[in-house]
C-alpha cells in the first residue's frame, strides 16, 4: 500500500496555494503507485477464488488455442469479471463520494450517509424486501430480481431531493442546513426501517441483515449494465469539481470571489454523490468505511488538493474494495463473508491508528 509520509506540524495553508512544488510531485507519484496497485489487485482478483480456476492456466489455454471448459468460462466471465468491474466502480464511487462530501461540507466526518443517500437507499431496500411481495404482479414481473437495487436507488434519490429542497432558499443551498436536515431525515428513515423490521418475517429479517452488510457476490452483467453508466458518469463529473472544492476550502465567500459559481458547483456535487452512492449501494448493499477512510488516508499522504485527491480516491477506493472482496470470498470458502464486515474490521483499526498517530487530521 501507499506509504504515509507524515510531515510534522506543517503550518496549515490554503490548499489551493499549497498544491505547488513538492506536493504536486508527491501527488503524481502517489497516483502512479495507485494505478499499479489497482492493476495488481485486478489481476489478482481475476485469478483467485474458491473455485480454483487459475488465471495463468486459463491464459495459457487461450494462447494455445484450446477451448475453455464450461465451468472455467462461467467462473471467469460470469462470476469474477462482473464482480471485478462492480468492485472497481463501487469502490471508486464510494471513495470519491466521500471525498466530495468532505470537501463540500468542509467537515471531515461527512460521507454519503450525510446527504441522506445512505439512509434513503437503506429504507428503499428494506421496503422492497419486506413489502415487495405486495406489489401488483405486473410490477413484479417487470422489476423482477432487480426490485431491491431499484428501490435502493430510488430511495437514495428521493431522500437527496427532499434534503435539497429543504436546504435551498432562493436558489442558495445552505450546507449547514443540509447537514442537520440529513441527520433528521436519517432518524426518520431509521424509524420507518424499524417499523418494517418489526413486521418482517424471519426470512426477511435475515435478508435485511445480509443486505445491510453489503456484498459483491450478487454482481452480474445485468446489474452492472444498469448501474455502471450512472457510476461512470459520476466519476467523470467529479474531477470537474476539483478546482471549485479547493476554492470552497477557503469559505463560500472567498470561493465566489475567486470566480467560482458556488451554487452550480453544489448542485453538481450533490448530483454526483447521489448518483454514485445510490448506484453503488443499489448493487452492493451497505459497504461502510471506504468513503471515510480512503480520502483521509490520501490527504495524509499527498495533501488536500482535490485535483489529485479525487482521482487518487477513486483508485485507492477501487483497489481496497477489491482486496476486501478477495478476503470476503476466501476466508470461509465455500461460504462468503459480507464485505461490509471486512471493510469495517480492517477500516476501523486503521482509522483509529491514524487518529492516534496524528490528531491533526480533524482540522483539515
Amino acid at each position: 500500500m501507499v506509504a504515509l509520509p507524515f510531515n510534522s506540524r506543517r503550518p496549515r495553508r490554503p490548499p489551493a496555494m499549497a498544491a505547488a512544488g513538492d506536493r504536486a510531485l508527491r501527488a503524481r507519484a502517489t497516483i502512479t503507485a495507485l494505478v499499479v496497485f489497482v492493476l495488481a489487485a485486478s489481476i489478482l482478483s481475476l485469478g483467485v477464488g474458491a473455485a480454483g480456476v487459475s488465471l495463468p492456466d486459463v491464459l495459457w489455454q487461450l494462447a494455445s488455442g484450446e477451448a475453455l471448459g464450461l465451468r472455467d468460462r462461467v467462473v471467469l466471465f460470469d462470476i469474477r469479471l462482473p464482480r471485478l468491474l462492480t468492485g472497481l466502480l463501487v469502490g471508486a464511487s464510494l471513495a470519491v463520494s466521500g471525498a466530495v462530501m468532505q470537501g463540500l461540507f468542509r467537515n471531515p466526518l461527512a460521507d454519503p450517509g450525510i446527504v441522506g443517500v445512505g439512509a434513503g437507499a437503506g429504507l428503499g431496500a428494506v421496503l422492497a424486501i419486506v413489502l415487495g411481495a405486495m406489489l401488483p404482479p405486473a410490477v413484479l414481473a417487470v422489476a423482477g430480481m432487480h426490485l431491491v437495487p431499484l428501490a435502493a436507488f430510488l430511495g437514495g434519490w428521493a431522500s437527496t431531493l427532499v434534503l435539497y429542497r429543504v436546504s435551498t432558499r432562493r436558489g442558495r443551498t445552505s450546507v449547514a442546513t443540509m447537514l442537520l436536515a440529513g441527520i433528521a431525515l436519517g432518524a426518520l428513515a431509521g424509524a420507518l426501517t424499524g417499523i418494517l423490521v418489526y413486521i418482517a418475517d424471519d426470512q426477511q429479517l435475515r435478508d435485511l441483515t445480509f443486505w445491510g452488510l453489503g456484498s459483491l457476490a450478487g454482481a452480474s452483467w445485468a446489474k452492472l449494465a444498469a448501474a455502471a453508466p450512472i457510476m461512470v458518469l459520476a466519476l467523470i463529473a467529479a474531477p470537474v469539481l476539483a478546482r471549485a472544492l479547493n476554492g470552497l476550502a477557503l469559505g463560500e465567500a472567498a470561493a465566489s470571489h475567486m470566480g467560482i459559481s458556488v451554487q452550480r458547483m453544489k448542485n453538481l456535487a450533490i448530483l454526483t454523490v447521489a448518483g454514485a452512492t445510490g448506484a453503488a449501494v443499489a448493487v452492493s448493499g451497505g459497504i461502510g468505511f471506504i468513503g471515510i477512510v480512503v480520502p483521509h488516508l490520501l490527504r495524509l499522504a499527498m495533501g488536500p488538493d482535490h485535483r489529485y485527491l479525487l482521482p487518487a480516491a477513486a483508485l485507492l477506493g477501487a483497489g481496497l474494495l477489491l482486496l476486501a472482496d478477495m478476503i470476503a470470498r476466501l476466508v470461509i470458502a465455500p461460504a462468503e463473508l459480507p464485505i461490509g464486515i471486512v471493510t469495517a474490521v480492517l477500516g476501523g483499526p486503521v482509522f483509529l491508528w491514524i487518529l492516534l498517530r496524528r490528531r491533526g487530521i480533524v482540522d483539515m
Binding site: 477464488g49 462470476i79 424471519d202 470470498r329 465455500p334
Partner: protein
C-alpha cells in the same frame, strides 16, 4: 461377455451417476440421510445440522446468500435446494454452468413432508428407499391421527421462541411451530397474528395457554421452570400454574424432515400424557 455386460451396465447407469450432491436446507439434508444417500453429499448450508455427521461437510453459509464460486468449487453435479435458497444471481450462474439446481418446497405440513421425500428420492434415483420411507412416514402419521382422534377438548399450546430480557417472542399463525401444535392435536394459543411476535404481558395473560412449549437449548433463550413461574405474565397462565412446560429439541421439532411424524407423536404424548396411556 463380462465386458459387454459391464458396458451395458455403465450405459444404463449415467442417469443415476450424480455423486457430487450439494444439499441446501436442513429438512432436505435429513431426508438425504434417511434415504441412505449421504455418501453422495459434498456440501451443505448452515441450516443443515442433523444428523451430526452432516456438520463434517463443507458449509456454504446461509442458504439465501450462497456464493456462486463457492458452489462451483465443490464441483457439484446436482444441487438440491429448499425453495428459499438464493440469491437468484447464483441460481442463474448455476444454470449457465450446467449444474442442475433443483428447488423443493419446504412448506410445514404432513403432505409437504411426504412430497419432499418423494422428490428427493426421485432426484437421487433412490425411489425404492424413498417409497419405503414414505411408507414408514404414512404409518407414523396414521398412528398419530389415531392418537389425536382421541382428543375431545384440544389444549391451548403456546410456543415460546425466545425470552430475551423477559420479553416473550411467541409463534402465531403460519409458523412451523403452529403447524406442529396442530399436528399433535392441540391448538395454538395465538392465532390472531402470523409469524413470530414479541408479546405484551397482557396478551399472554389473556391467551391463557394450557401448555408452554419451548426448544431445549442453552443460553438466554431457554427459560427455567423457576423463571416461568416468576415471570409476571407467564406465571399467571394455567400452563405455569400446573407445571405444563414441554421442552423439545429445536431441529427435531421444527425440521419438517423425516422425523416429523415422530416429533409430532412425541409432542402429542407430552401434551396429553393421560391419553397415550390408553392408546399405547
Amino acid at each position: 461377455m463380462i465386458r459387454a455386460a459391464l458396458l451395458t451396465a455403465m450405459l444404463a447407469a449415467p442417469a443415476a451417476a450424480q455423486d457430487r450432491v450439494v444439499v441446501i436446507g436442513g429438512g432436505l439434508a435429513e431426508i438425504v440421510y434417511a434415504l441412505g444417500q449421504e455418501h453422495r453429499l459434498v456440501g451443505r448450508d448452515t441450516t443443515a445440522s442433523f444428523p451430526p455427521a452432516v456438520n463434517d461437510l463443507p458449509d456454504l453459509g446461509y442458504m439465501r446468500a450462497l456464493s456462486p464460486e463457492g458452489l462451483l468449487q465443490l464441483d457439484p453435479d446436482l444441487i438440491l435446494a429448499s425453495d428459499g435458497a438464493g440469491p437468484l444471481e447464483t441460481i442463474q450462474i448455476m444454470q449457465a454452468a450446467d449444474v442442475p439446481f433443483v428447488q423443493i418446497t419446504e412448506a410445514p405440513s404432513m403432505d409437504a413432508v411426504l412430497e419432499r421425500v418423494e422428490q428427493v428420492a426421485q432426484h437421487l434415483h433412490a425411489q425404492d428407499a424413498g417409497a419405503q420411507l414414505v411408507e414408514t412416514l404414512r404409518a407414523d402419521f396414521a398412528a398419530l391421527a389415531e392418537q389425536t382422534a382421541q382428543v375431545s377438548t384440544p389444549r391451548r399450546v403456546m410456543f415460546v421462541l425466545s425470552a430475551q430480557g423477559g420479553r416473550i417472542n411467541a409463534a402465531g399463525r403460519d409458523t412451523g411451530a403452529s403447524a406442529m401444535i396442530q399436528m399433535a392435536g392441540a391448538v395454538n394459543a395465538f392465532d390472531d397474528f402470523a409469524g413470530y411476535r414479541l408479546l405484551t404481558d397482557e396478551a399472554i395473560a389473556a391467551a391463557a395457554p394450557d401448555v408452554i412449549l419451548m426448544m431445549d437449548r442453552d443460553g438466554d433463550h431457554a427459560l427455567s421452570d423457576a423463571q416461568i413461574t416468576g415471570h409476571p405474565a407467564l406465571g399467571l397462565t394455567p400452563a405455569a400454574q400446573n407445571g405444563q412446560v414441554i421442552r423439545m429439541n429445536g431441529i427435531y421439532l421444527l425440521g419438517f424432515g423425516p422425523r416429523t411424524a415422530q416429533a409430532a407423536r412425541d409432542l402429542h404424548k407430552a401434551i396429553y400424557p393421560a391419553l397415550t396411556h390408553q392408546g399405547g
